[in-house]
């Protein structure tokens, strides 16, 4: 089945080659990191997690968001999503693989990662995160394979696949919940020590993931004439609108709690992110960009006419994605580390090789998504 991804024209191969070049540059930078250590990154004693772990967190969300198209179709028999569920699942597979890579490039001793399996530790959330993500990957690989096979042969998928798909729904929720727990249970990190973190993760995931899915669908529709009904896209846009509104609401709840209670340990992190602390303002422009984009996106998504017209919808989706990428893929992780437990304020600025490695993983993800969508397009072209 995957061989269908190889049947492309010159433009297709140029795109793949470009991505492969970025991935190779990333791999080269990773080789450099292997030799010099993580000292090559912008990480420091005070900010020990940065871009890599933040990207991991963000993409766990994208992976989980497949549930937003799977659930209506399988639990509510919402037929319109029939043709996009598999795209959502392919996006999930890609995201989980990217997550694994982001974790891997963040390890100080990559040759020892299998120790996590050799000494399974049920009281560590990282262990459960690995179990949850691994299981989710397997579920989605099985589901997409079986569904696409059935589609190609023009038969109904086997009956046993349905319970598997239904299982993938709570499983998707679990992967992002456990990822939130990763941050959630640390006594000294007040920024993350809030029960709303998991719901907030889910809300932002269900906005960012489907927003990306819409953009991919629009692109695939234009370039490969992959048939996706307008109605499906409009429904996903509605989901994005609701999820984004809930996300913003959750953030405001957090802001109220923190600033009304005025506990310094909680306030300081927000002050660092949105106003700067002790003259350190590295993240301030980013966080305000994110906030403004969130407002713009919300307006575009709530007004029906802008939500339904393709160009404004695409703009809104880009705004949602970028806003949440900054919020979760930068602010959430770094903000938790500053100020440090000893009150030190240390800015974190990723280095070029670090960004290159990150871009490399993104490129690999883009290659995967391209291939998956291509396969789907080819299978469906065969039907006609």
């Amino acid at each position: 089945m995957l061989e269908k991804a190889l049947a492309g024209g010159r433009r297709y191969w140029a795109w793949i080659a470009g991505l492969a070049a970025v991935a190779c540059a990333g791999a080269w930078c990773y080789a450099l990191q292997l030799q010099t250590g993580l000292g090559m990154t912008g990480l420091s004693r005070d900010v020990t997690w940065g871009l890599y772990i933040a990207q991991f967190t963000f993409f766990v969300g994208v992976a989980a968001s497949a549930v937003m198209v799977v659930l209506p179709y399988y639990l509510h028999d919402y037929k319109v999503f029939g043709r996009v569920t598999i795209l959502g699942e392919f996006l999930a597979i890609t995201s989980v693989v990217m997550c694994g890579l982001f974790i891997f490039v963040d390890m100080g001793q990559p040759s020892r990662v299998l120790n996590v399996l050799r000494y399974p530790t049920p009281w560590s959330m990282m262990f459960w995160d690995m179990v949850a993500l691994g299981g989710y990957l397997i579920l989605n690989v099985v589901i997409t394979r079986v569904s696409l096979e059935a589609e190609r042969n023009d038969t109904a998928p086997p009956r046993w696949i349905r319970p598997v798909i239904v299982l993938s729904i709570p499983w998707a929720i679990s992967i992002h919940t456990v990822t939130a727990f990763l941050y959630n249970g640390l006594p000294g990190r007040s920024f993350w020590l809030t029960a709303i973190l998991a719901p907030r993760f889910l809300a932002s995931a269900f906005a960012a993931g489907p927003a990306l899915l819409i953009l991919l669908c629009l692109a695939a529709r234009r370039w490969w004439s992959l048939r996706i009904a307008d109605e499906a896209i409009r429904k996903i846009a509605l989901i994005v609108a609701y999820a984004m509104a809930v996300h913003v609401f959750f953030v405001l709840l957090e802001v109220f709690t923190v600033f009304y209670s005025q506990v310094p340990e909680h306030v300081d992190h927000f002050r660092y992110l949105y106003a700067g602390l002790d003259g350190h303002t590295a993240l301030v422009p980013w966080m305000w960009t994110s906030a403004c984009l969130a407002v713009v996106a919300l307006v575009l998504l709530i007004v029906p006419s802008t939500r339904t017209s393709e160009p404004t919808l695409a703009g809104a989706c880009v705004a949602v994605f970028v806003s949440l990428w900054i919020d979760k893929g930068l602010g959430l992780v770094v903000g938790g580390f500053v100020p440090s437990p000893l009150g030190a304020v240390t800015d974190y600025v990723p280095t070029w090789p670090e960004m290159m490695i990150t871009a490399g993983v993104w490129a690999l993800g883009a290659i995967m998504v391209t291939g998956f969508f291509k396969v789907t397009a080819e299978v469906r072209a065969g039907e006609r």
Partner: protein
């Protein structure tokens, strides 16, 4: 294996030394109940020796801790922090003049309920029966989850190869490589020989008191009973075992 037997075996290696200092440390007989090592720092005595670094140098030399100038990549086991920062005091102006703006020693608290141990995905860090929060450098994968979990900033990650930054290398204790986490080990390698931690031994002012909390007659228990002491962030429920006697 039971801790009692472990205590015995440990002492067996250097029976003479153990007999001499074991009693002083509160492990008079190998058959005694398990111990709970703890540390008490007499802050005023420590402050009398203004600018003293004896304990820091002794520790860092004994354990091959590198002196990395770049603050971002620093590795440290024991160091000094301003009093106000250590105890998160919001309004420094009202602190006792004797402590205002002064620095106190900080290092791993060897918590009774250590968050770092809870989060480690490979059990590379764990709490021993005698309370030492240990690290198995052979097993650490360098994920830095423990660094995020420690509410005291006690853990350092080796961002760069530490060896070029060693001032003086001893073959008595291994160095570390890049990519692993490290911190104070309460000198478990010295405890095994019945010796007190290097910092305690090095302190010229007798400001560091080390002993067994389970022994009601130990000097540390007597001191803690007689004088007022505080701990760092007790509200987090980590139950630190480093006491600051004020």
């Amino acid at each position: 294996m039971s801790a009692t037997r472990r205590c015995f075996l440990r002492m067996a290696g250097s029976a003479a030394a153990a007999a001499a200092t074991g009693a002083a440390l509160g492990c008079a007989s190998p058959a005694a109940a398990t111990r709970r090592w703890a540390m008490a720092i007499d802050v005023r005595k420590c402050l009398e020796l203004d600018g003293c670094r004896a304990c820091i140098d002794a520790c860092h030399q004994a354990h091959n801790v590198p002196a990395i100038p770049d603050r971002a990549h620093e590795v440290k086991w024991i160091w000094k922090e301003p009093f106000e920062r250590t105890f998160a005091i919001e309004d420094p102006d009202t602190v006792t003049a004797a402590l205002r703006g002064r620095e106190v020693l900080v290092f791993c608290n060897h918590c009774d309920n250590p968050p770092c141990v809870r989060v480690c995905p490979t059990q590379a860090t764990w709490k021993r029966d005698d309370g030492v929060v240990a690290i198995d450098e052979h097993r650490c994968i360098g994920c830095r989850y423990c660094v995020a979990a420690c509410p005291y900033g006690s853990r350092s990650f080796n961002f760069v190869d530490p060896r070029p930054f060693l001032v003086h290398t001893t073959s008595e204790y291994p160095t570390r490589t890049r990519g692993v986490v490290e911190k104070c080990n309460l000198c478990e390698e010295r405890l095994a020989k019945g010796q007190p931690p290097a910092c305690v031994r090095a302190c010229p002012g007798g400001a560091m008191l080390f002993g067994d909390l389970r022994d009601p007659d130990s000097e540390i228990r007597k001191t803690l009973a007689a004088r007022y002491s505080i701990r760092r962030k007790p509200e987090l429920g980590t139950r630190p075992q480093v006491y600051y006697v004020i």
